[in-house]
Symmetry: none
Subunit: 402 residues, 2 copies
Amino acid sequence: MPFDHLPPLLRTSSSKIVLLVLDGLGGLPIEAGGPTELEAAKTPNMDRLASEGALGQATPIRPGITPGSGPAHLALFGYDPLEYEIGRGVLESVGVGLQVKAGDVAARGNFCTLNEQGNITDRRAGRIPTAEAIPVVEQLKSISLSGVTTEVRHVKEYRFAIVMRGEGLNPEIDDTDPQRTGVPPLSAIPRSPAADHTADLFNQWIAKARQALADNQKANGLTLRGFATDPNLPTFQDSYGLNAAAISVYPMYKGVANLVGMEVIDFKGETPEDEFNALADVWQEHDFFFIHIKKTDSKGEDGDFAGKAQIIESVDRALPALLNLNPEVLIITGDHSTPAKMRTHSWHPVPFLLWAPATVRSDVQSSFGESACARGGLGNISSMDTLPLALAHAGRLEKFGA
Amino acid sequence: MPFDHLPPLLRTSSSKIVLLVLDGLGGLPIEAGGPTELEAAKTPNMDRLASEGALGQATPIRPGITPGSGPAHLALFGYDPLEYEIGRGVLESVGVGLQVKAGDVAARGNFCTLNEQGNITDRRAGRIPTAEAIPVVEQLKSISLSGVTTEVRHVKEYRFAIVMRGEGLNPEIDDTDPQRTGVPPLSAIPRSPAADHTADLFNQWIAKARQALADNQKANGLTLRGFATDPNLPTFQDSYGLNAAAISVYPMYKGVANLVGMEVIDFKGETPEDEFNALADVWQEHDFFFIHIKKTDSKGEDGDFAGKAQIIESVDRALPALLNLNPEVLIITGDHSTPAKMRTHSWHPVPFLLWAPATVRSDVQSSFGESACARGGLGNISSMDTLPLALAHAGRLEKFGA
């Protein structure tokens, strides 16, 4: 349970909570003294919510720590990433839409180049481009093993994910990547006897994959790493008494939401309007809604300051459709910062807006941006405070003690 | 390890970090509404750094806790003083420049006055002044024991420190101070059989000391307390991957720096200029520099508001020599507050300035002072966040998770 003190306090309520996550929302000015991406964006709706609500800045994991997407979302959902770990194989698999259930074993795969002696000459198969790698992954999909099924999916460039399903599987297996060239890939070696059978199955799969790939120029070998199974995270229902829905365009975030027991909503389209329409469609069936906007992060990673600001503006324009649903609590924040100036995730705290007309203690800030958030009424918080604050403002928590 | 999650994230870098500590920097206005010492001081250089960087206020240990110098520095270095403890004997010894290595046993000593029956009449030997105590300490230096060596050094007034070195020593020994007058000092009593031999050696030493001091009027007896050995703190190298140097005029701070594995730099002089010149001399050999300015605290303890402000101004005037070295990260803060108005350490949070031109999220503050820091972009932080923030802004941390 992320917060052991919460479940005894949970109160039934018909209130609705929306957590709107603009991935990589936090930014930096391009030039000293200038605005950040969020400050440069024209966001009249968010500014009104900022006036009516309270602002703060959220630290995703710990001060100074730059989070990956998996840990950053775990933190937003209230699960301390230093305590709850999602194995690499699982993260990569759910990231491309593969389900990983209890008992399944997932791994991340890298294509590599082998010479005639079977030694690795390039650990990333010359970083073959995605277009070239997709047909190679197709060659792996036809491999069959006795007693288990495998699902393989391309990730990006030389990377793919594999999930094995069957009875008695165990993920305690070492990586097969020797971490250097001039030697052959390692076998899948079990770390405990309980994983002997699983390692044997992966070695059979690897042997068949080697045959299937033999004629390729670059991707004629592979390594596997990060063997892991469903981390068995406590669910949103058990942790917070919430029947949660996830609305996301990208598989990775659907996957993490699924791991904490959210229902992942299928919908058409990929714009903020499309996502808010999907929200309206399932509004009656759930009481918590995680909505994920990806492109703020993508533009940040591209170093596209103006593009990131435009994505924020497009979310702002679409907001009335969300507000028309009259949620009791709306939180707008990011999972981490991705300043366009840095072209990568960063450790800087994330702007945090809490709007809850009936219960929020409003502050004096009247626009949504990093500077206003740094002086906001919520002060410095941890991203892990998000759910407890949401539950409280939604009237979903009883008093602790007499 | 102060932060177990940091070592796996450490990244090699040529970036340089400077932690400039003005001891007891935090202050209070003499009259309500007036400036603090830092606010009264003219600090054009620090104000410029404040404009370009971000401010916050740091709590050394926990809210409301007034730290001693040892715990305050441990916190700044990232070691939670509630978890990592340096024994009094060690702190007092390193404070006067005695080295305490693994296996040594250090203790703090108090001179006391004994009557003819050997009972204590004054537990602090009439608080004999330093000038009077120094020759008394000299009398103790000639004591020799079989199989071990001892080093004794005067601390202040009636206080001294002793370090015993040899094979098989163990610090689990109770204080010999009975905490009242009218009774004799206690013997050194071992708390476990492993310390029998060590207690026996200290009792031999005490007996010889009594003989040596017998003719003194006031300081004719002594008590020992705080028996302790090297706390074996994780090093800066292991915790942060930093090759750290310490530049300090006072032995106490050199000692604490030494305990966390910093190289203590020898240099001539005692002004801020002298310290910054020493910094320049070793700039190429290290990547982290702890610079300690003592006199802000001394003036605070003297109740000398103007004197403390002048010391701050003298540091500000010398700053260009430091800035010319182009550190990637410069943090200016204190270990704790020492308001001249209170003439003692206090629990008030400490002004904190983070300057890192390439990576800092600047705030709107433009001067370095308590009020500006209370509204700074870093918000309220823990002094223990100093190193993680420094590492992040210096580009020395990889992303956590995928």
